[in-house]
């Protein structure tokens, strides 16, 4: 992180912000400010260059055609790849998650190259779309509480050897591979199918991104009672459907 200001980059809201993805940016921003940090949030439209000097990058979900356009423009731009090489923290959701992998199936039914920042390959599932609440256990190495979110996708994402599953689902489909995995991550790059938005449902993940970006082990506590109340309700509702 440069000086005392956290540079938060929201990638391509014009294309990849269909499912309340702005929420992830708002949560990171809010939680950083609550810790006394200055936050410079930069929303980068797809006709603008992605800066390579950000600390945290967020990339959201979107519809099939915008996803292809985003992949084309990000490949051409190169800024996000340079940021990753600089060790920036990148957190991606759904369509954005697929774009960070090696390839995915685009709106024309063709294999579209991704950015290769995560060792995953996505295809399109044959069955029904995965829609609904998800409950899972986040990889224990990350030391985070249960994952709660909402999934809405047709993708199937297979993990390669250098990507670890971000979570294992108890309820829901996650990566859609049938092995119970959800999302993927390596040292600095994270991907998930969870909406909700996922950082509003799981503020500890937002804090993890901050800790990684700041290179600290702990952050001052915040008043999380509403997050906790929401989490308790969603987890209860997922385990005991009405």
């Amino acid at each position: 992180m440069s000086d005392n200001s956290l540079r938060l980059v929201w990638v391509y809201p014009d294309l990849l912000s269909t499912y309340g993805d702005q929420g992830n940016a708002l949560v990171v921003e809010r939680r950083a400010r609550q810790r006394g940090l200055d936050v410079a949030r930069l929303d980068v439209r797809s006709d603008q260059p992605v800066p390579s000097s950000g600390d945290i990058y967020l990339i959201g979900g979107g519809e099939d055609r915008p996803q292809r356009l985003a992949a084309e423009r990000l490949r051409r731009d190169g800024g996000l790849q340079r940021a990753a090489a600089n060790g920036a923290i990148i957190f991606s959701v759904c369509a954005g998650y697929q774009i960070l992998g090696h390839e995915f199936i685009n709106d024309l039914g063709e294999r579209e190259p991704g950015l290769g920042l995560l060792d995953v390959v996505s295809t399109r599932g044959e069955g029904e779309r995965c829609v609904g609440d998800v409950l899972g256990d986040i990889d224990e190495r990350l030391g985070l509480p249960q994952l709660t979110g909402f999934e809405n996708h047709q993708g199937v994402t297979h993990l390669g050897p250098t990507a670890r599953p971000f979570a294992r689902v108890r309820l829901g489909r996650g990566n859609g591979t049938g092995d119970g995995t959800e999302g993927a991550y390596n040292e600095t790059v994270f991907g998930t199918y969870m909406h909700g938005p996922v950082l509003a449902r799981n503020p500890q993940i937002a804090d993890l991104l901050l800790k990684l970006a700041l290179d600290v082990n702990a952050l001052p506590p915040t008043d999380d009672r509403w997050y906790e109340a929401l989490r308790a309700e969603r987890i209860a509702s997922a385990t005991q459907p009405a």
């Binding site: 269909t18 702005q22 708002l26 797809s46 006709d47 519809e63 055609r65 356009l69 938005p197």
Partner: protein, 412 residues
């Protein structure tokens, strides 16, 4: 044109009768107005009934993500100046509900029909409308609805070569894309506050440039068409350049836009703007929306907002602080079960208002408001909100089923 030139076939008559009987049974059983079940029964017996019922009418279809029920009502009011109107005024906007509404208006001259976005192309094929009004398209119920741009694409395909006059909003790029396959379009500059579903060009995917009120694609030639009707503050300018004042009892910019579009539709049917707009003043509340009700000694104005674009337009019409605001959000089937859209709504616009939160998903709202750094109270019931609210008329904003819940609670 209109009238009862050709009587319904015996089969169609039977279908109408059976539909009415089913609706009566449904009403008697306390299961709503029965219009949908009645229409379903009738359509089963005579699948072409919708088209047959419409042959006796001059029909206008109204579709959009937001404002279709209100606009349907405004157009119906305007056209009554020149003849009896049949309309699905209560918002039953899929083929069964539409069939049922038309079956109830055998002496009507005009059919003013609200159509669900997903059914527009099919209904337009069945009823050969004289006019089709397209107001706006934006994200709504993404867990079950089609993608917004795909919807525009379906409209575009369905309306290709239509004989109807299409009255379309020049300020919504998705609507313009949908309408521009039609040979006869009347463009209305009706405005649209929400822009976040049209940043990429529906034609080529290029990034949309939006200087001021204009818009154009930076890559292909797709751009805002020159409008012949223009909403300008409290006036609508007609194609001859005359400015007509819009006086409505309904609040807000969005309803002025609905009135401007309705005036353009009325003109297609020969009703002059002055007459049309004067008649629109009669409309007070639409299916409970905008109604001011009394509850536990307090006045509440009931506002429906179902999606981010609707919330944005609603924020711009509420009374300023310190007017108390109650927010209620559910996520049942009819609302969409994913609450992520709350994060597309800019709740900081409510800063300064005392805010009270209820509904099935009040905790989602609580987190949303906390992150927006707003003060708010989470309540267990509408009664509790009302007890805690400081004096003055209260604005109540709710999404679809939450709105129905509130109407039941206040006995509206």
């Amino acid at each position: 044109m209109a009238g009862n030139a050709e009587p319904l076939s015996p089969r169609a008559k039977l279908a109408v009768t059976a539909g009415k009987a089913a609706a009566a049974v449904s009403r008697a059983a306390g299961r709503g107005s029965g219009s949908v079940i009645g229409g379903r029964v009738a359509l089963k017996l005579d699948p072409d009934l919708l088209g047959r019922l419409a042959t006796h009418l001059d029909v206008v279809l109204v579709s959009a993500t937001n404002g279709k029920t209100t606009t349907t009502r405004l157009i119906a009011e305007a056209l009554r100046a020149s003849g009896p109107v049949v309309s699905n005024a209560l918002g039953a906007n899929m083929p069964a509900g539409i069939t049922s509404a038309l079956a109830g208006g055998s002496d009507a001259r005009y059919g003013v029909i609200e159509v669900d976005e997903k059914y527009l192309a099919g209904v337009a094929r069945d009823v050969t409308p004289k006019a089709i009004a397209l107001l706006n398209l934006s994200r709504d119920q993404l867990d079950r609805a089609a993608e917004t741009r795909m919807l525009a694409e379906k409209w575009r395909e369905g309306l290709q070569g239509t004989k109807a006059v299409v009255i379309a909003n020049a300020d919504d790029p998705l609507v313009v894309w949908a309408a521009s396959s039609s040979p006869n379009v009347v463009w209305v500059a009706a405005g649209q506050e929400w822009k976040d579903d049209a940043w990429s060009c529906p034609a080529c995917g290029g990034v949309m440039q939006r200087p001021g009120d204009d818009w154009f694609c930076g890559e292909c030639g797709f751009r805002r068409p020159a409008p012949s009707w223009v909403l300008n503050g409290d006036y609508v300018l007609d194609p001859h350049g005359s400015a007509w004042p819009i006086h409505l009892q309904l609040p807000g910019r969005a309803n002025k836009a609905n009135a401007a579009t309705s005036a353009a539709v009325a003109a297609v049917f020969g009703v002059p703007p002055q007459v049309a707009l004067e008649r629109m003043y009669q409309v007070q509340a639409v299916a409970g929306r905008y109604d001011v009700v009394s509850f536990q000694g307090r006045e509440l104005r009931l506002l429906l907002a179902k999606n981010p674009a609707g919330w944005l337009e609603t924020f711009s019409l509420i009374d300023p602080p310190p007017t108390p605001v109650i927010l209620s959000v559910n996520a049942r089937g009819a609302d969409g079960t994913d609450t992520s859209w709350l994060w597309d709504v800019d709740y900081t616009r409510l800063a300064g208002h005392p805010i009270f939160v209820i509904g099935d998903r009040k905790l989602d709202l609580a987190v949303r408001l906390e992150v927006a750094n707003l003060d708010f109270r989470v309540c267990e019931s509408l009664a509790e909100c009302v007890q805690l609210a400081p004096p003055g008329q209260i604005e109540l904003i709710a999404n679809y089923t939450a709105f129905q819940d509130v109407r039941r609670t206040v006995g509206n």
